[in-house]
């Protein structure tokens, strides 16, 4: 448990995502399987079932300390956290030289058996352990006893750390972490065993992410070198068909196949060894508004009624694997041709919308002005704007600039992650409705970038409020900090340099466009991305100015 206690300290001492991942990877590399399993359990936010209640623990602390109850409670009020109060208040442990249990032993032989003790025996054992441990270990011990660790890491970061520690693709770890598991040594061994490829037929490719267009279209070169598509207001997904099985992955590398049975059904007709990238949209004779699709989200199983009201399709726009061959290195235009060819073969030349593959259509254009005119229609078409893809671009992993641009109708829109929440005023005083969003700087440290109050539906506000209450890391006055996990698309009217903001930037009239449940915090825009918008100006007027 000493190593795990040190890991906790390291995670607590940094706000940098990269540093947290590195610290966890270090821990996992040297961890016996039982310790590794419990560490995954706790770091991923799971907790032990409540063994000893808070009031009982406070009584134990009063008994264990040499102080009157009122003084112990004054300490608790000052510190604000019971485990931390315990760790600080009791006399520093004398080095008794006895070996400490490992994390696995601590949980299985010390903590869990407490459930079978009466209160008096619980008190004896807990106080005995408090006395044996030093401050940091005592803190960890008590934290594990009272609930979750809340150290600001998500299952996704744990997966990143495991992937780094055992040299495995993150998606493999993510997949192995899915579903039901018990924190046993066998689980940890299975989680970290080498990837022999054979069993990982579900594996998607890392998504290629577009960057916001930060320059006039005129500077992109000849229009003929570019492919243009609508930027759909849906959910990014990869459809994997291998060995007769179908796997649908969200951009957050979450396996969402069971939520979209109609997509799974259509995919049965895809040949083995096919991976398609596209956008999930509500579809009935055309794209349904995002609000309709939202009714399908957040439900693990959909009933027949909803399935009939909001059928969903994958609008395909890229082909990453064909005939079992990874073709991400081929040019965009070649991959597009492959995709269209596949669609033709499948539906025998009939209307593409009737076949298993619905293509996201290309927009014909011969000059940038014409394309800008198309883009102006985006709102009435219910799309977010345009995607520009360079014809010779490979399908990169993650966010690489230059190959794919998103040219949204909103001049400024970014994906940012929620870090703080505060209760609103008046009617909403009982709900957390004022949010602070952040983006990572070049070291992966989150920098607050915008506060926004509006843009979510009442149902979303209530849901987010519940999530915030369950996931509060720290309270300072009316403000709560939460793990950086919920991603939101934030639109704003302008951007300026500002020395008063920690990010160095201030955004004008930021508002929430949408709760991006499909995205994970690792894929939000970076501070550098946002900074570039400074110099970009609004794409439209710049382009217009150049033309005049």
């Amino acid at each position: 448990m000493r190593r795990f206690s040190e890991l906790y300290q390291a995670l607590d001492a940094t706000t940098s995502t990269n540093a947290k991942v590195a610290a966890m990877a270090d821990f996992f590399r040297g961890a016996p399987p039982a310790d590794g399993a419990w560490a995954v359990h706790f770091l991923a936010g799971r907790r032990l079932k409540r063994l000893v209640g808070g009031a009982r623990l406070r009584r134990m602390l009063v008994e264990a300390s040499d102080y009157p109850e009122w003084l112990v409670l004054a300490c608790y009020a000052e510190v604000g956290d019971l485990a931390e109060t315990v760790s600080l208040l009791l006399e520093p442990a004398g080095a008794d030289g006895a070996a400490l249990p490992t994390l696995g032993e601590l949980v299985e032989q010390v903590l869990l058996p407490l459930a079978d003790c009466d209160e008096a025996e619980q008190g004896r054992r807990v106080v005995d352990w408090w006395r044996r441990l030093d401050r940091r270990e005592r803190f960890l011990f008590t934290k594990l006893l009272t609930g979750a660790l809340r150290v600001g890491v998500s299952q996704l970061l744990v997966a990143r750390a495991l992937a780094a520690a055992f040299d495995l693709p993150r998606s493999v770890i993510q997949q192995r972490l899915m579903g039901d598991w018990q924190p046993s040594p066998a689980f940890f061994e299975a989680l970290t065993r080498p990837d022999d490829g054979s069993v990982e037929i579900s594996r998607p490719y890392p998504f290629f992410l577009a960057s916001p267009l930060d320059r006039p279209t005129g500077s992109l070169g000849a229009p003929g070198q570019w492919l243009a598509e609508w930027k759909w207001d849906g959910i990014r997904a990869q459809l994997v068909r291998r060995r007769g099985q179908t796997f649908l992955w969200s951009r957050g590398e979450e396996l969402i196949t069971p939520r979209f049975p109609e997509v799974e059904a259509l995919a049965e007709r895809l040949p083995d060894g096919t991976v398609i990238d596209g956008e999930l949209v509500g579809w009935r004779d055309g794209v349904l508004p995002f609000a309709a699709l939202q009714r399908r989200l957040g439900r693990k199983r959909v009933g027949p009624k909803l399935l009939a009201e909001v059928p969903v399709r994958l609008l395909a726009y890229d082909c990453l694997e064909i005939g079992g061959r990874d073709i991400r290195g081929s040019a965009q235009a070649v991959r597009r041709a492959t995709l269209e060819d596949l669609a033709r073969r499948l539906d025998g030349g009939t209307d593409a919308a009737g076949g298993p593959l619905t293509l996201s259509p290309l927009i014909d254009f011969t000059d940038w002005d014409a394309l800008a005119a198309e883009r102006a229609r985006a709102r009435e078409l219910g799309v977010e704007g345009l995607m520009l893809k360079r014809g010779d671009a490979a399908y990169e992993a993650g966010r690489r600039r230059g190959g794919w641009w998103k040219w949204k109708v909103d001049p400024y829109a970014i994906d940012a992650v929620l870090i703080y929440a505060q209760a609103g005023h008046g009617r909403r005083a009982s709900l957390f409705t004022d949010y602070t969003f952040a983006v990572p700087d070049e070291h992966g440290e989150l920098k607050p970038i915008a506060k926004a109050y509006s843009g979510l539906t009442d149902a979303e506000i209530r849901e987010l409020d519940r999530w915030i209450r369950r996931h509060t890391l720290e309270r300072f006055g009316p403000v709560r900090s939460v793990p950086a996990q919920q991603v939101f698309e934030i639109a704003f009217e302008g951007i300026a340099e500002s020395s008063r903001h920690k990010s160095g930037l201030s955004l004008r009239f930021p508002r929430i466009v949408r709760w991006r449940r499909d995205a994970d915090a690792a894929s939000v825009d970076t501070l550098a991305d946002v900074r570039r918008l400074l110099t970009a100006g609004r794409p439209d007027p710049v382009a217009a100015a150049e033309d005049s």
């Binding site: 004054a74 956290d81 070291h443 720290e474 300072f476 020395s499």
Partner: protein, 348 residues
């Protein structure tokens, strides 16, 4: 019952009046006609140390411990400051006053006040940990002890200073490896100089960069004979700060002054940093637990060591300390002073 707690049950001065009473101007000794650390201008001010909440401008005459007089003059330019050596008695009418080391900052003093065989001691701010930049705290037996109570909760126990210095050095090394400056915020008077002295073994000849507010106090310390490692004022000449350690007052954080460092790691050295919630709330990357005030064991041990039958508490947790002492059989009460302790400007 007297609300100030200053009218004693025992320990009454010969003429029937408490030796020290609380007036609008602060702690006042009527028999000797002087104030200790007054917060309004008075005729005679006996000053425990140069921090702003204890040394205020406008009084006619100041008496202070000799090692702290240059600091006091620096803080209160033009003030009439009379130095007195530690332990050397001074007469104020029938009252004898002497100053004794408090171990808080350079020249900090406890005020011993004797009248008709009764001794009162005002601690000012004090700490019991060793500090290479000032004389160590001296236990002064007293009938009545007026103590500070900034960190009077048993959760406050300071770690060993050398350990914290090592933590700072490790943090600095880490940041330097990443090519970013380490900006360590701390109070400019006292804390900064103590940190410099404690960090000396880790410097290997490298200078420490300082904010102007820190550097001007450094100069006063050096003139008073305190050895500090090599420092350089930020902004003097062209500098590359990417691997630098910088000491700056908390007020410099978030100002345009910070811009020159580009991306920088920030730390804060304060007793408050013992609590995780404070570390988070302040928004610094790291908190280092270093305080120039006594921790809980330091306060309790000191109160005991003075042998005082009555204890009056000031600063911060004065009510809690008074209640705790009262339950242990010491006549104790809290006094409502305007001293702020390490809380000043730390936590809004």
């Amino acid at each position: 019952m007297d609300k100030t707690g200053l009218v004693p049950a025992s320990g009454v001065a010969p003429d029937g009046i408490a030796l020290i009473e609380l007036t609008d101007s602060g702690l006042y000794c009527r028999a000797g006609d002087f104030h200790v650390d007054p917060w309004r201008p008075v005729a005679n001010a006996v000053i425990t140390h140069a921090h702003a909440d204890h040394a205020r401008a406008g009084s006619a005459r100041y008496l202070a411990a000799a090692p702290g007089c240059s600091l006091l003059r620096h803080r209160l330019p033009g003030a009439a400051v009379e130095p007195v050596d530690y332990g050397e008695p001074r007469r104020f009418g029938p009252v004898t006053v002497s100053l004794h080391p408090a171990g808080h900052v350079l020249g900090s003093a406890q005020v011993r006040i004797e009248h008709g065989g009764e001794v009162w001691v005002v601690s000012g701010d004090f700490k019991r940990q060793a500090d290479p930049t000032c004389a160590p705290f001296e236990v002064v037996p007293a009938d009545v002890f007026i103590t500070e109570a900034t960190f009077a909760l048993p959760v406050y126990r300071w770690p060993d200073t050398a350990t914290v210095a090592q933590e700072v050095a490790d943090w600095w090394a880490d940041n330097a490896r990443r090519g970013v400056a380490s900006v360590l915020f701390c109070y400019a008077l006292g804390k900064a100089q103590r940190l410099l002295a404690e960090l000396a073994p880790h410097l290997d000849g490298r200078p420490v960069f300082t904010h102007g507010a820190v550097e001007s106090i450094n100069a006063v310390y050096r003139e008073a004979g305190v050895t500090l490692p090599d420092t350089r004022r930020v902004g003097d000449g062209e500098q590359d700060y990417r691997e630098a350690l910088v000491l700056a007052p908390p007020g410099a954080g978030g100002s345009s002054w910070m811009r020159r460092f580009g991306e920088a790691a920030t730390g804060f050295a304060s007793g408050w940093m013992l609590l995780r919630g404070n570390r988070r709330r302040r928004g610094y990357d790291r908190g280092f637990v270093v305080s120039d005030h006594a921790d809980w064991p330091g306060l309790i041990d000191t109160v005991e060591a003075t042998g005082a039958a009555r204890v009056l508490t000031t600063h911060g947790q004065s009510d809690l300390l008074a209640r705790y002492l009262a339950e242990r059989g010491v006549a104790a009460a809290a006094v409502a002073t305007e001293f702020e302790g390490e809380g000043d400007a730390t936590l809004q």
